[in-house]
Amino acid sequence: MNERFSKFNTGLLADRKITQLMIFTALTFFILSYVSKDIFFTSANFISMSYQIPEIAILSIALMLSMLTGGIDLSIVSISNAAALVASWVMTTKMGDSENLSNKWIIIACVLGTVVGVLAGAVNSILIARLNVTPILATLATMTLFNGIAIGMTNGESVSGLPEQFMRVGNGTFFGIPTPFVLMIFIAIAVGFLINRTTLGLKVFLVGTNRKAAQYSVMGDRKVIAWVYLISGLLSSLAGLIIASRTSAASPDFGSSYILLAIVIVVLGGVNPNGGFGTVTGVILATAVLQMVASGFNALRYSQFFYLAAQGGVLIFVMILNVVLERRRVNRSIAKSLRS
């Protein structure tokens, strides 16, 4: 009985998408390994990928949450940078001229960073859930706002020279696995639990499927949406801390192309842009695919610009595929309902 319901939120449709995506991932992997045996299919490349994947994966998971409700959070990268800057500023100020900083202050700095993320998320929540501003406009505005504040406070310069111990998190390993990767798995499991195993998660899917019906079902749709942007802010700030720790710096304009990349990943990962359907697994797989394509492009010495074009191409391809599959599905369900 329980097993029958274990996959219950996402339904059969999403399962099929995951299977497709797994095949897609495997294909990408084998093709690239085949054409570029000596550069792509090397442990050095895999290690480097496993340090790059986590930050974009976490940002994509954050984005997925808002897209599940049928909205979007364009401010994730700005929030991530703001959180990284605040944490870095606290650390460098406390360090002064010394090389080291006590663990206590590193933790305080990180906590302050996440507080920034939650506060920024709260601004989005108020705009979208309370004041009914369209998500894409509200977060476009806050994206610019947070980014502007960050540039203003730092004069556009990056904060660097972070303490040793902090850098060890972003560049170290945990039982042989890169620490950021472990953190990503941890966050993925937590968010997976949130959306599949909690009442809030079920509400997220329902609100995303039909906001009006959610209102008539009195499930507190505003509260659900407020939570989503709050959590999105928190996750973005965690991504920011990981980035700062890996690069030993924080800058107001880091990863400006990440927002587009995250959208590509989320859509490729099978999240319905209209809301209501999507899985964390899908998003992680999609991140892996795109990172492999990026590494493959590097390995094959294609230019970065072509990689950008490839990203756009992938997005268009997936959306066309979705439309075609959706049309087939709708036709089939019309046929089914007529037959019954």
Partner: protein, 498 residues
């Protein structure tokens, strides 16, 4: 004119399938110019598929479309218009931001492929069209500002402008008062005299008997009966439509006399939608509320449930006034509400049947730390599927895979699960086949017997008479009359409505 009057319009042996399922299997129908024909049938009988084939939306798998002396194996929408086939849908497909004149003239410009508009020509086209059907409406008024009845007349005028030869009217009288219906029928007589073949799609048997000359009855994509209207009796039509000998006898349970009140509505007012509405409902009582479209009946129902703003007044549940303008307060007080539009307001279409069944009160299924108690959820789902006899093999199938009647049961179940004191049902059997309708009414009856109170909002008068203890009629946002159990009579109620 003479040729028009003898011309015949219709279809021969039309077959249409959607992915292997037959929607129409060999339907033939013929309407002469100057005739008013009725297509009657239940939801899913193939009425709308037929209209869509004749207006060029769908292509038939086989069969012929005959328009006068031309025949077609299929039509494009543009060809259909060019050949004089026009459909007036229930929502009239008018553009509310444009004026009456612009609405009437625009399709003519499009048909002629002219890209430039002239104000003078627009007004000319509109005036001519309105004169032709003998109607006087201010052509410079924006369509958003005029009455529903006028909108309908504008839609007819627009059709005549396009050289209409065959005019379909889909449920044209739903929103009209008796007087307006009379006016509409006069206009129909006008276009009939001009040789137009008019097709009425309606389920109001009184009206089709009044206006139509001939009738075709569809069931499950086949013509079950056709002929002259005068040869059909009321009972015969509904029996042919449903294939059942449907009894419309009262099934309302006996109500125990009591002075208790589950809910008291006092002077509920939101100007200009409704004002000073007061009524009360006793335990186990089924109160009917009816009124024309736009009378304020839906807004009133939603106001009680906190989905429509209330300016003043009181709603008292079990002796305590509840906080207005809040659905969560209404829910807490024990009020449930099944909204009128199942597809957009009631269901999460792409989600599973199970998720839909538990959508109200998800928090009940919370175990420690916000965790979802999935086994309890699944049990509840199975129980409701069994209780309300929802036909499905797997509760994880999307709710969109169910038929209308089963979908409505899902919406009903999600609220019954909250065990409300008062259940407000807005159009509980709209778009539901006759068998399911009966079962849904029986579910209401059984719950009422157990003491649940109901407010049933509906424009289906026979249904209200079947199930209600009392019916109030809303007119212009006020209670115009109340009918007690003994006074419930179809003719009287229809008369009060319009």
């Amino acid at each position: 004119m003479v040729t028009l009057l003898t011309a015949e319009y219709g279809v021969e042996n039309i077959v249409k399938s959607f992915g292997g399922a037959r929607a129409l299997s060999g339907v033939s129908l013929s309407v002469k110019g100057g005739e008013v024909h009725c297509i009657a049938g239940e939801n899913g009988s193939g009425k709308s598929t037929l209209i869509k084939i004749m207006s060029g939306v769908h292509a038939p798998d086989s069969g012929l479309i005959r328009l006068g002396d031309k025949s077609f194996t299929q039509l494009s929408p543009r060809e259909a218009v060019r050949e004089g086939v026009q459909v007036i849908f229930q929502d009239f497909s008018l553009l509310p931001n444009l004026t009456v004149a612009e609405n009437i003239a625009l399709p003519t410009y499009i048909l002629k492929n002219s890209r430039l508009l002239s104000k003078k020509q627009t007004n000319q086209l509109a005036t001519n069209a309105l004169d032709l059907i003998g109607v006087d409406i201010d052509i410079n008024a924006p369509v958003a500002d005029i009455s529903i009845a006028s909108k309908q007349l504008i839609a007819i005028a627009r059709a005549t402008n396009l050289g209409v030869k065959m005019l379909f009217m889909d449920e044209p009288t739903t929103a009209l008062t008796r007087k307006e219906i009379k006016r509409l029928f006069e206009v129909v007589e006008q276009i009939k005299a001009r040789g137009v073949a008019t097709v009425f799609v309606s389920h109001k048997i009184d009206e089709i008997q009044e206006i139509c000359n001939t009738i075709t009855i569809l069931r499950n994509g086949e013509v079950v009966s056709d002929g002259m209207m005068k040869d059909f009796k009321r009972q015969g039509i509904s029996q042919a439509m449903t294939g059942l000998d449907v009894s419309e006898t009262r099934i309302a349970p006996k109500l125990k006399k009591s002075n208790d009140k589950v809910i008291e509505v006092k002077n509920l007012t939101t100007k200009p939608t409704f004002s000073n509405v007061s009524f009360s409902i006793a335990p186990g009582e089924i109160l009917g509320m009816t009124g024309l479209l736009g009378s304020g009946r839906t807004e009133l129902a939603e106001a009680i449930f906190g989905q429509y703003p209330v300016d003043s007044g009181e709603v008292i549940v079990d002796g305590k006034p509840i906080h207005l303008n809040s659905s969560s307060a209404a829910l807490k007080a024990g009020i449930g509400y099944v909204p009128p539009d199942r597809l957009t307001q009631g269901l999460f279409l792409e989600q599973s049947i199970l998720n839909n069944l538990v959508a109200v009160g998800i928090d009940q299924y919370q175990s420690s730390g916000g965790r979802l108690a999935k086994s309890r959820l699944a049990e509840a789902g199975d129980r409701w599927i069994k209780d309300l006899r929802i036909k499905t093999k797997n509760p994880l199938n999307p709710v969109s895979s169910l038929s209308g009647g089963n979908q409505q049961r899902v919406v009903l179940a999600k609220w019954l699960a909250m065990n409300p004191h008062l259940m407000i049902l807005n159009g509980p059997t709209v778009g539901v086949d006759i068998g399911s309708k009966r079962e849904i009414l029986e579910i209401i009856r059984d719950r009422a017997q157990e003491g649940m109170s109901f407010l049933v909002v509906s424009d289906d008068i026979p249904e209200l008479i079947q199930i209600c203890h009392r019916v109030i009629v809303i007119k212009n946002g006020q209670i115009s009359k109340e009918f007690s159990e003994e006074q419930l009579d179809e003719t009287v109620l229809y008369k009060e409505l319009s």
